[in-house]
Symmetry: C2
Subunit: 383 residues, 2 copies
């Protein structure tokens, strides 16, 4: 049986050289992860692993950002399941990404880092599990970019998972998503401190551009009605946005809030990784080399639950309806009702709790699981 | 009777020094305009003027951008009405704005140009009419920023117009709108060629930043389903956006399209004016100093038609529903059904034709007008 890092601790697994879908090579890749709950492996290799896939600027600490959903007795019950969350390849939270040292010279990969696709991310994660000696997971769950990975899991490795839960994502990038995502990339690359992606030895990096990108992104993550309820046209305390001349230090409250969102991200995220992962989202396309979107979706045999948000601007609900109409083995389709928008899968704990419990139940055929792991859940599913 | 510029020709009218709502002063303001159809003035001062209000980057050539709607026999029939379209104060199409010479030194106003509000725009336009000797217009019609001005007309000068048609706008800027608009301002002001707004004597100006702003804006002007139908994930012809490394010259078709939109704007619009007018939109608030939004709307006595677009991201339809629920004298509420989004009021000619004909009819009590202008319309209203 694989030896995993201590519960909640950041571990890392080298997976060797990685060849990307587009033909690039990333040498000596490491995938970082955290896990909660004990791993159980049945005689046939089946495991009790639930793989949780983080979103664009997420990290492997899923028990933090999904704290209401992961833990003993919670929807993803760590007394029963071994929850694992990796950091995506191209990221900056432990896995190899643009900020990582290049094996040749020890300097950051920077502009040398090849473009990765969502499929690359999944292949790398699959390699990570293989290195751990794991050939099967019970379920893969993820929202947004994590949802895109979850969907690719069902098509790249259908024999390796029992069920999937795909949240707030689409079958491929829409033109609008590519447009707004490219605007974010451009905000970063237009920053003089970007240096063509090779800023790591030169300066702090394009922090102004990254903050600007986050500002745009955040407006696609939150519902416009929620923002308006919270901020409206209220001035930021102590500032006057209605003065005789426009002044950037005299703001509406919403601008101050968005500035703060940008500042927070800059403190915890690398601009190069942001560009790399945003590019991966631009390349998201379930249909590529599979005869198109609907043929690809129909070919999916993994029982898959789809969840969308009624007020999602970035991944509008009709995109999840499209998934549910075309997936080959639909386990269920659910709507988060929330003013919050796209981020609702991170904030609507109560609805997510019910939906993930339902997913876990359905993934076990709705019956009490007889999973051979010596655990006897008490059937307290709240639907 | 006022002497107007030749039909379709750009005219301009000096209106003197202008004091802004926020306490600034703009000296020697000129308002530019175009007009189509003959002006008729009745004994009591009533006129046959229909004032058309342009949007953010619009211009006074309404017979161009609303070519299907303005002209002989069209919805805004220039054989009957005198259609006038001014350029907004703060703009760059003939009226005084940041690029105009300051009377003191002949250099561009630049950063000295005071912030103008939507109310300022309307006051300036009212002054323009007064200078022409006109104290009354039959109707004011406008979409987007033009809709905001139309709404302010009904509250600032209710005795000066018979009816208003307010299209694709809200009673005030929403927090989301302020956020996305400020992101556009920031894209411009972060451009090193902005020079604090005083680039006019230094360089070509922040063209890269202006293009980036337009790119963001355009994604709020168009419906995501329309963009997706047109572009999807198609690569731009001759380019490969799926190569081994991300390259800005290897684009998806939608990115090429958005680059083109940015380039087109840069060739015809001044960045300083873009910032000034975007700031005006940030300050749009019907409720300011009027006891709040709904009290202000309820106080409106001018018969007002409201039109919204079902797929509008920037001014979602619920904002027009809000207007219609609260306006004191609602003439009607109509929905443009279109995949195009916000811009539908500029592109859905057939629907707009029917709605503007209906508006004109309702604004005359539905009866054949007895307007005393010696004109006998043939009652061909198509509803």
């Amino acid at each position: 049986m694989a030896i995993l890092s201590a519960e909640g601790a950041l571990g890392s697994v080298p997976i060797g050289d990685f060849h990307t879908e587009a033909g690039g090579v990333i040498d000596d890749v490491t995938i970082a992860y955290r896990r909660w709950g004990e791993l159980q492996v049945a005689a046939d290799g089946a495991t009790n692993i639930i793989l949780v896939e983080h979103a664009l600027t997420g990290d492997p600490d899923a028990a933090d950002w999904w704290g209401a959903l992961i833990g003993p007795g919670k929807a993803l019950d760590t007394e029963r399941w071994c929850v694992i969350c990796t950091n995506v390849i191209g990221g900056c939270n432990g896995s190899t990404g643009p900020a990582s040292p290049h094996p040749d010279d020890g300097k950051a990969w920077g502009s040398r880092f090849p473009a990765v696709s969502i499929r690359d991310q999944v292949h790398a994660e699959h390699r990570f599990l293989r290195e751990l000696g794991v050939g099967h997971v019970h379920a893969v769950i993820g929202g947004s970019m994590g949802g895109a990975r979850t969907l690719e899991w069902t098509l790249l490795y259908p024999g390796s998972l029992d069920a999937a839960c795909v949240i707030a994502v689409s079958a491929r990038a829409s033109a609008w998503q590519i447009g707004i995502q490219s605007a974010q990339i451009s905000a970063i690359t237009r920053d003089p401190d970007w240096h063509g992606g090779d800023y790591y030895d030169v300066c702090e990096g394009p922090v102004t551009g990254l903050a600007a990108a986050r500002r745009i992104a955040h407006l696609t993550y939150r519902g416009e009605m929620e923002l308006d309820e919270r901020f409206g046209t209220t001035p930021q305390q102590g500032e006057d946005p209605l003065g005789t001349h426009r002044r950037p230090d005299q703001r509406f409250a919403v601008d101050s809030y968005l500035d703060y969102q940008g500042l927070k991200l800059v403190q915890r995220f690398d601009a190069g990784a942001y560009v790399a992962l945003t590019e991966a989202l631009n390349r998201h396309d379930i249909g590529r080399c599979r005869g198109g979107l609907n043929k690809a979706l129909y070919s999916s045999k993994v029982p898959t639950m789809v969840i969308g948000v009624d007020t999602d601007i970035l991944y509008p609900y009709h995109q999840q309806e499209h998934l549910s109409r075309n997936l080959g083995n639909l386990l269920g389709m659910h709507k988060l009702v929330s003013p919050v928008g796209h981020d609702a899968f991170l904030t609507e704990d109560r609805q997510m709790d019910r939906l993930l419990r339902r997913f876990i139940s359905l993934a076990n055929d709705g019956a009490e699981p007889t999973d051979g792991f010596g655990h006897d859940p008490e059937g307290e599913w709240i639907i």
